[in-house]
Point group: C2
Chain length 440, copies 2
């Protein structure tokens, strides 16, 4: 993409309203724009990040055997009356009346609707287990929306729902998502630690939050250091192997780890002092097993092997890609701007032409731009008339993994300059060597 | 995908509420499920089709130089007061109050919001032309939603917005989208004819609808037959060549073509009788040039080359991917079900195992399934216990381009059966030959 043709409105100054670093950097980098309190437009650079996150989330859901569908944003109030949550949900639910005065709502979550879809179509234990997920915009009318997309009102959520014949099978479905989440966060460049959690309005008695550590995190978390060195399950993990999944979950829940609410000071202090951490954390995923909480009142029954109807055992599993975009910045930035993990970066390479209009610089840049694209790399080519200093500041701010600089002086001695974001020193090398390095 | 693990709830009978064939077939094939009047969930098969459509729409927008972003679904009423459309829009607009009694709405279109984003960030003619688009769910509270996703309340829309310094440049931006639309519909397997159109609540004085012909279309259209043989612009069409674009638009508007509202009987009857058609049509895209209708009241000004501020000239360009899914079915089906164009089909191949549990059939199917996936083909493998007749009926209903049948009798004589959806006769051939045919 040529920057002269792109739409990336950089702000030189940090906006006053932004209280946390990810919000400031997302506004400054032209990733998002607030359209109303807690409601954001995703500008092109932000949307690319959001899509990169979503793609990884989707691939890992698919790998774990979950099936994607897409539920609408607007739901009927009556559906929520069936579960008893319509009145219970409170003011966070955005309630709407249509032109015929029907009571509707903007879905804050989808347990009711997916249960309705399931019960209308699945009748037999032979069709189980099933895990259905979607990635859709949700709305929660927070009393005080803030922190940018970290706690917005309209937000993107991947929510999966599992259906099983009994609790034992449901536990395996839960473990599948547990393992898929470990893989998802690792691929996003994050160290996420599962922690036992309260279930809140979703309900149920088994639940884990996945927490990443970030100095600027929203809450305090405590745990055993060894988690940080645990290896993530391989891409070829067998999601049909219940015992194998359980072994992974056992290992990832074997050591102490807790959020503030669940913190057990005595257990924590029993850990060797050099093997424990007390740090700031950000919740990036939350999984629940809640049994028959929705299937019983909503009559989502299937016929069991013995011919008797039983309510299905359910779980739900959430990841917020829009929140993750901010969380990844909280976990990766410096004073100059964002430092994206490779898998999430909006472009892999920022190609900087120090002297547009200079025929040697233009020719070298066009050649590199074409060749980098030929290698399948996504490139942002700064072909604008800005000063060199402003160009460097912009590249640091938007945090692309690689910066490739072409200037008349370097070209005269046959070199360009390659720098990895976050590393100290740029490297002078031939254009060919730079291409070879970037293709690795 | 193994059908035994998939979620594709087939209905044997046509649902009574469905008045048109695409609605009936989408319900029967388990593509969609109604969640409220005019509000649908996209079940896995339907979502795959929707995503295939969206991918092509996106690729052609990108090719034409449009830049993708994503605006939220919920908007502030005040924004619409600036353009004067808040009161004018009527009951089709879904109006909402949040917990603080702020007046909001579910966006039915985005001219106001994109103008707000533009004016906040673009100040100079040097940054023009720009075309910004998004693909997002919209809501129009139709008084009588019907025809399934053809006329639903919550629907997916690609809407692009162009910004230019003057009318001449804006016309080129308009032509870019005109050409992009020709390419988009051709890639979707459709013959779309541009026709002059009224501008309705969007406003402006230049507008084209893109209409496809389908026996079951919603309205009558009239035109010159030669349009049906026109060649679509190549993938390497130069979107920076204003004269070249104008020549394509001139050619595609050179002959008579009109919707009912714009029909000129005398002009139509002046055509040679064998070179004219009167047929049913479906609108699949609509483009508008409306000049400064929004930029003036909303003060979207840029500094021109002479240093003076001028309001930008704008156009907007819509395609509804959710509506297209239905329109493509209206244009391609038979009594047995849907006939998908290759580019849109949810799977390329339906692999039918006539005798699951038979070790030879299972082994041959597993081998073909793995090899087809290895070829990069998306395969739906029917490994269920259904009767052969039901399996064939399902495959015809869901309309995959290729059906590959493996049975014990054929295997004994070394053959499998390959059939193209819509063609008359299946072909008996070796598994290797079938793979070779499908890899072409």
């Amino acid at each position: 993409m040529r920057l002269s043709r792109y739409f990336m409105p950089i702000l030189r100054d940090a906006p006053k309203e932004a209280e946390i670093v990810s919000h400031r950097l997302m506004l400054r980098a032209g990733m998002i724009r607030q359209e109303a309190a807690g409601i954001y437009a995703w500008l092109p650079l932000g949307l690319k990040v959001l899509n990169n996150i979503t793609k990884i989330v989707r691939e890992e859901q698919d790998r774990a055997g979950a099936i994607e569908l897409l539920m609408p944003t607007i739901q009927l109030a009556d559906l929520w009356r069936e579960s008893g949550r319509y009145d219970a949900y409170g003011k966070e639910m955005l309630r709407i009346k249509d032109r015929r005065d029907r009571e509707m709502l903007y879905g804050p979550t989808n347990e009711e609707m997916i249960t309705e879809i399931f019960r209308a179509n699945v009748r037999s234990h032979k069709d189980l287990p099933k895990n259905l997920y979607h990635i859709q915009w949700k709305f929660r009318d927070e009393v005080r929306p803030r922190f940018g997309v970290m706690r917005s009102r309209e937000f993107l959520m991947k929510d999966a729902y599992s259906f099983d014949i009994d609790q034992a099978s449901a536990k395996t479905s839960y473990n599948r998502m547990f393992v898929a989440y470990l893989r998802t966060f690792a691929r996003l460049g994050l160290k996420a630690i599962p922690m036992q959690a309260d279930t809140g309005p979703i309900g149920g008695d088994l639940s884990h939050e996945f927490i990443i550590l970030a100095k600027t995190g929203e809450s305090e978390v405590f745990g055993h250091n060894d988690y940080l060195d645990f290896e993530t399950p391989d891409a070829d993990v067998d999601f049909d192997d219940a015992a194998g999944l359980q072994a992974i979950v056992d290992r990832w829940t074997s050591l102490y780890a807790a959020t503030e609410e669940k913190h057990d000071v005595a257990a924590f202090e029993a850990l060797p002092e050099d093997r424990r951490f007390a740090a700031r954390g950000i919740e990036v995923g939350h999984i629940f097993y809640f049994g028959t909480k929705y299937s019983e009142p909503m009559k989502a029954y299937v016929t069991g092997p013995d011919g008797k109807d039983v309510p299905v055992h359910m779980g739900s599993y959430g990841i917020g890609p829009s929140r993750l975009a901010a969380a990844i910045i909280e976990a990766g930035h410096d004073d100059a701007g964002i430092i994206w993990p490779d898998a999430v970066a909006p472009f892999r390479v920022g190609l900087v032409n120090l002297k547009p209009g200079d025929s040697a610089c233009d020719a070298a840049c066009e050649d590199l731009y074409a060749k980098l694209k030929g290698l399948g790399l996504d490139v942002l080519y700064d072909d604008t008339d800005d000063r060199a200093g402003a160009k460097f500041a912009t590249m640091d701010l938007i945090g692309l993994p690689w910066r490739l600089v072409v200037g008349p002086k370097g070209l005269a001695s046959g070199v360009v300059e390659l720098k990895r974001r976050g590393s100290s020193a740029p490297e002078q090398l031939s254009a060919e060597s730079a291409l070879a390095a970037l293709s690795r």
